[in-house]
């Protein structure tokens, strides 16, 4: 009985906290919305893979090639549509396949043939790799049908025919041509980096929120606030302290993530394409010195933003329980948003600079900037992220200068007046 009462007390003490209840409600609502968004996005990806029309540019007008494309179109239920040029096709369809001149005669003579696949990449998302897969699947159909055509032409059994059709993939990103395997590899790396940054941000946020609340609970806070030191100095020192501690965490996590990234490679690189593993080192090489500098700055900004946001939460929380109940869902929400971006898709265009407003999305904006070779995107995004971070620091300073830092924000109970 006593044990049951003790357990009940433990649960009720937390369950009756308005901050805890608000946190639960927020999380449920958030995950509900997020689940819906991810569901729609993945459904779109699956639909695109099965139902999308595929543009075909045929430079070969031979009867063999035309016959092959006709049969392939029937097999793919009319999803192959002829277009005059690759550019024209990419304006209408997610992928375009180019059959080169002389393909038909080559099919009859050679065992290894090349075909060209093009995709238009307009976002950092799961859609991009699925588009590549779409090309691979069409090429596979053409390869199998090609064997049948050769067998018919030569009057031999199809089992004696060996033909390998190799797709040479290119991605068009904002008018630029990028190797698709390299892009996939870099996308993977930047996403992993973004997740790592997200985890660190979440940790920094929760750590700093708890630190102020703990200081309040330790009852040293009031003495601290009456020292002849400006509140701004105290607030900024706390932000810097939170950043330094987060950097210590960064080093540990960075080492761990680097190990994971260097252990993972992109599957099935095509012949002729530049093979790249999904390592952080490849990403850093791609970005170059100035890109790495911007990426480092983005990490610093994210830590400062998270530390400040955490301090803001801790400052208006009466104790560690409230701070944890508020900071937890916010931290998780920020991280899950980042995780969800791969499903929803991060724009790969000039508007990528707006990602800076989230601070956490800044590495993705910098990446987009370098893929598109438009440095203005990175600069604008960094400027926006810096402004957001400074505003958050300013908000912390304002709270520290007000008595909210002491009396907090009470959701239900009023402070007892002594």
């Amino acid at each position: 009985m006593v044990f049951a009462a003790l357990v009940k007390k433990e649960i009720m003490v937390v369950l009756k906290s308005p901050a805890f209840i608000a946190g639960i409600v927020l999380l449920v609502a958030y995950f509900g919305i997020l689940g819906k968004v991810i569901g729609v996005a993945t459904e779109q990806v699956a639909k695109e893979a099965v139902e999308s029309y595929i543009g075909v540019v045929s430079e070969d007008v031979s009867a063999v090639t035309q016959g092959l494309l006709h049969v392939a179109n029937v097999t793919l239920k009319g999803r192959l549509l002829m277009v005059p040029t690759v550019e024209d096709g990419l304006r209408k369809f997610p992928v375009v396949i180019l059959v080169p001149a002389g393909f038909g005669s080559s099919l009859l003579r050679n065992t290894t043939l090349y075909i060209y696949g093009y995709t238009a990449v307009d976002s950092i998302s799961l859609i991009q790799p699925s588009r590549s897969q779409l090309v691979y699947s069409v090429v596979k159909v053409l390869e199998e049908l090609g064997k049948a055509v050769v067998a018919t032409e030569k009057g031999i059994n199809i089992s004696e025919i060996s033909r390998t059709l190799i797709p040479r993939m290119e991605a068009r990103v904002g008018g630029r041509v990028v190797d698709v395997n390299m892009l996939s590899s870099l996308l993977f790396s930047i996403m992993m980096l973004a997740y790592m940054v997200g985890i660190l941000g979440m940790l920094a946020l929760m750590y700093s929120a708890q630190s102020v609340a703990t200081e309040k609970e330790e009852k040293a806070f009031e003495m601290l606030l009456t020292l002849p030191v400006s509140r701004t100095t105290i607030a900024v020192a706390k932000v810097v302290g939170a950043v330094v501690l987060s950097v210590i965490m960064v080093v540990a996590y960075f080492a761990g993530f680097s190990f994971i990234l260097t252990s993972v490679s992109t599957p099935t690189p095509t012949e002729g394409a530049q093979t790249m593993t999904g390592s952080l080192w490849d990403l850093l090489q791609f970005l170059g010195g100035d890109g790495v500098a911007l990426l480092s700055l983005s990490l610093g900004l994210m830590l400062m933003f998270s530390g400040s946001l955490g301090l803001l939460i801790g400052s208006i929380s009466s104790d560690t329980r409230v701070a944890g109940a508020v900071a937890g869902p916010i931290g998780v929400a920020l991280y899950i948003s980042l995780l969800a971006s791969q499903f929803v898709g991060v724009p790969l265009s000039a508007s990528s600079s707006l990602l800076g407003a989230t601070v956490y999305g800044l590495p993705l904006a910098i990446f987009a900037s370098y893929v598109l070779e438009n440095r203005m995107i990175a600069l604008q995004a960094t400027g926006i992220a810096t402004a957001v971070t400074l505003l958050t620091v300013l908000a912390v300073v304002r709270v520290f200068e007000s008595e909210r830092i002491l009396v907090g924000i009470s959701i239900r109970r009023r402070k007892q007046v002594k």
Binding site: E215, E218, K219, A220, E222, M223, L224, L225, T226, L227, P228, V229, S230, S402, E403, L406, V407, S410, R414, K415, Q416, V417, K418
Partner: protein, 244 residues
């Protein structure tokens, strides 16, 4: 304002969010060098008043001046002149007592003066070898002494002490009272304290202000108050003053 006034509280009002009135038109002053005690029942506004004087809270109305400096517009200057001991002062549990002392005194002193102040605080705390242990292992009394040592060794012009002997045993309480009195007399520091312990107030204070529901209902030297209400001790005077 007279140069002989350390703390001047005029028509002080503090309304908390939700309309709760913590202080409701409080007026009193503390003369330089005296020990002034604020007494009153729970919820009468003692801690709120001390927090406003210590620049932690902002008044909703009225004014507070400390050695002529406004507690709101001149908050930084006021902080240079005061040292505040909250009722439930604690310390950072993972720091040692010595680290705690050095951190707080380091905000006021530098170099040789800092070392002197640290030495003084260590002596006041009188925690022996425990001063080098993390605070998490300290008793409530040890933490109280640690916090008080920092306040006293700061040697400000005004001590603001909220229930200075709260939670201390008889022996330690007596030691704290003696220390406060010694510092006030030896260094000419003005003391404003709050207490529920009438014996302590009678022993320490030159003047006492009795507050009730956020207002001053009686003020004077302990002997004066006893004579005014024709009672034998301050406890009875307090009960009479608040209408008991």
């Amino acid at each position: 304002m007279s140069s002989g006034i350390a703390v001047d509280v005029r028509d002080l009002v503090k309304v908390y969010p939700g309309g709760v009135r913590g202080v409701d038109g409080l007026t009193f002053s503390v003369v330089v060098g005296e020990i002034y005690g604020l007494v009153g029942p729970n919820g009468s506004g003692k801690t709120t008043t001390l927090r406003i004087i210590a620049t932690l809270l902002k008044p909703s109305g009225g004014s507070v001046r400390v050695f002529g400096f406004d507690a709101v517009s001149g908050a930084m200057k006021v902080r240079e002149l005061i040292a505040y001991l909250p009722e439930e002062a604690g310390a950072y549990r993972d720091l040692t007592g010595l680290d705690f002392i050095r951190f707080f005194l380091g905000a006021r002193f530098r170099g040789g003066r800092l070392e002197e102040a640290v030495e003084e605080a260590v002596k006041i705390a009188d925690l022996g070898s425990d001063i080098k242990r993390p605070v998490r292992g300290y008793s409530k009394g040890m933490k109280r002494l640690l916090a008080l040592s920092v306040v006293l060794a700061s040697r400000p012009r005004l001590f603001i002490l909220d229930e200075p002997t709260s939670g201390l045993d008889v022996e330690r309480s007596l030691r704290v009272r003696n220390l406060v009195r010694e510092y006030a007399r030896r260094y000419g520091v003005t003391v404003l304290l709050s207490s529920h312990n009438m014996l302590e107030v009678e022993y320490l204070c030159d003047r006492v202000g009795i507050i009730y529901r956020g207002r001053l209902v009686a003020e004077g030297a302990p002997e004066e108050l006893k004579a005014r209400y024709s009672v034998r001790n301050l406890e009875e005077a307090f009960v009479r003053a608040v209408g008991g």
